[in-house]
Amino acid sequence: MSHTTMNLNLKVWRQKNTKTAGAFEMYRVENISDEMSFLEMMDILNEQLITTGGEPVAFDHDCREGICGMCSMYINGKPHGPWQANTTCQLHMRAFKDNDTIVIEPWRANAFPVIKDLTVDRSAFDRIIQAGGYVSVNTGNAVDGNSLPIEKAKADEAFAAAMCIGCGACVAACKNSSAMLFLSAKVSHLALLPQGDPERKTRVTNMVAQLDKEGFGACTNTGACEAACPKEISIANIARLNKEYIVAGLTSE
């Protein structure tokens, strides 16, 4: 494979903490390999900043293989950058060319306050999960693997919803900062499986109530969430969520 290096201008959002106003800063990084990941490029920027007496850019990251949902950068106006079905950590520098200017911002949503620079507080998602995104089971006895047969088509659909890594790109992409795609993925994955059935109604009711409390915006079905989702969660899940919610409301005891 051919291997090239590039010099880049980075326009990065800097913000000391939640209370202080932020602003863009310009940085220059040189000799960036096109085989590097985007986060490796950010590591190099930080090395450069620290050794020259500056403050490194704070950003979230963990597994760096696209499964943990920590990395959360708004790159050139898109959550997770220009590639489709991709997280920031999986974005590689071959997506850019020499002398490009890359604009890097945090997720912007009232429900996701900036902690520092590119790091935002996504604990609102945790609280939504705590409100019902689980199944209650007795621990202690491992159930036999195939004692609960599930049709392949259903298992696949549930799996596709369970692919959601809770990164928040859907919220960042939405003009209303709605978290409906996230919530619908969590509700769907359990609603499609027999294990989720006993708590089906309370789950959707409680999770929607928590969603509203957190201050996310309303869904207007524009589909920007689906387009930005690194795991390609379908907005058909939002339709299922609405169905689950209505049924739970109409048949509540």
Binding site: N46, I50, T51, N86, Q90, I115, T119, A142
Partner: protein, 268 residues
């Protein structure tokens, strides 16, 4: 292929820029587990009473080798099937105790020790970044305590890690403040731990004069190049106790296999 491995192939394509459905994949072995963790008893309690270590952080299910997703299995098994039954034994004795105030001497001592470690790290104010130390440590361990190991290489690695530790604690640079969100300070604490763990991995690999699982000592191999076990002398789990800096004491936990005997694995 796409049904089974589509996700993996997509990841590969993003990293390499090559289409694995068309071009042969470039694969190399990599370290993925430490094959060890904190010592715990059968109830998953550490040497600190009341402190439990679950999942991959403990040593109990590591063995000599570990395959993909074992960490997930262990996390689920410990969480679902072990701790709900063992934690009660500790709580049963604690239930009559009044809530312990944070003015308790043990709490104050622990808080002070942590605050001092953080202040020490921050006040070093040296020239080298945390990341650079992490990379250098990784290189030492990868070269000498990675896929294949030798006594000479491991001795050199121990000396190198100890020298790196000295350098880290005298020349690391941590920007930012202590009482704010500071990922560099967080990472410095982790890298300080990694240095200690890296040294221990080399000490343990040097002491185990046999090959088994993920531990391959070049001196101990069959004529075919397979791992040569020495079950007579090394049928134990090594539990290392750290007393002072670089002072490791070995406690052997004997392994008894009654039904299935361990054997050499041969991929032929």
């Amino acid at each position: 292929m796409k049904e089974k491995y589509g996700n993996l192939f997509d990841m590969y394509a993003k990293i390499t820029g090559e289409n694995p459905y068309e071009v042969p994949m470039r694969i190399y072995p990599a370290v993925h587990y430490t094959m060890g963790g904190l010592w715990v008893d059968y109830e998953l309690q550490t040497t600190v009473p009341g402190l439990y270590a679950l999942g991959e952080a403990n040593f109990s299910d590591h063995g000599a080798n570990r395959l993909g997703a074992s960490a997930l299995m262990q996390g689920l098994a410990d969480g679902y099937f072990v701790i709900p039954y063992t934690l009660g034994n500790n709580l049963a004795d604690e239930i009559y105790n009044a809530p312990i105030p944070t003015s308790h001497p043990a709490f104050e001592a622990a808080e002070k020790a942590v605050a001092e470690r953080i202040a020490t790290l921050k006040n070093i104010n040296g020239k080298q970044t945390v990341e650079s130390f992490h990379k250098r440590l990784g290189k030492i361990i990868w070269n000498e305590c990675g896929m294949s190991r030798t006594a000479a290489g491991l001795k050199q690695a121990i000396a190198d890690v100890q020298a790196l530790k000295k350098e880290f604690w005298s020349d690391v640079r941590i920007p930012g403040e202590i009482n704010e969100y500071n990922p560099e300070l967080d990472k410095a604490n982790r890298v300080a731990d990694f240095i200690e763990l890296g040294e221990l991995m080399c000490v343990d690999a040097l002491a185990r004069e046999e090959s088994c699982g993920g531990h391959f000592r070049e001196e101990y191999q069959t004529p075919e190049g397979e791992a040569l076990r020495d079950d007579k002398n090394f049928m134990y789990v090594a539990a290392w106790e750290l007393k002072n800096d670089h002072e490791w004491t070995l406690h052997k936990e004997e392994l008894k296999y009654e039904v299935i005997q361990p054997s050499q694995r041969n991929y032929k």
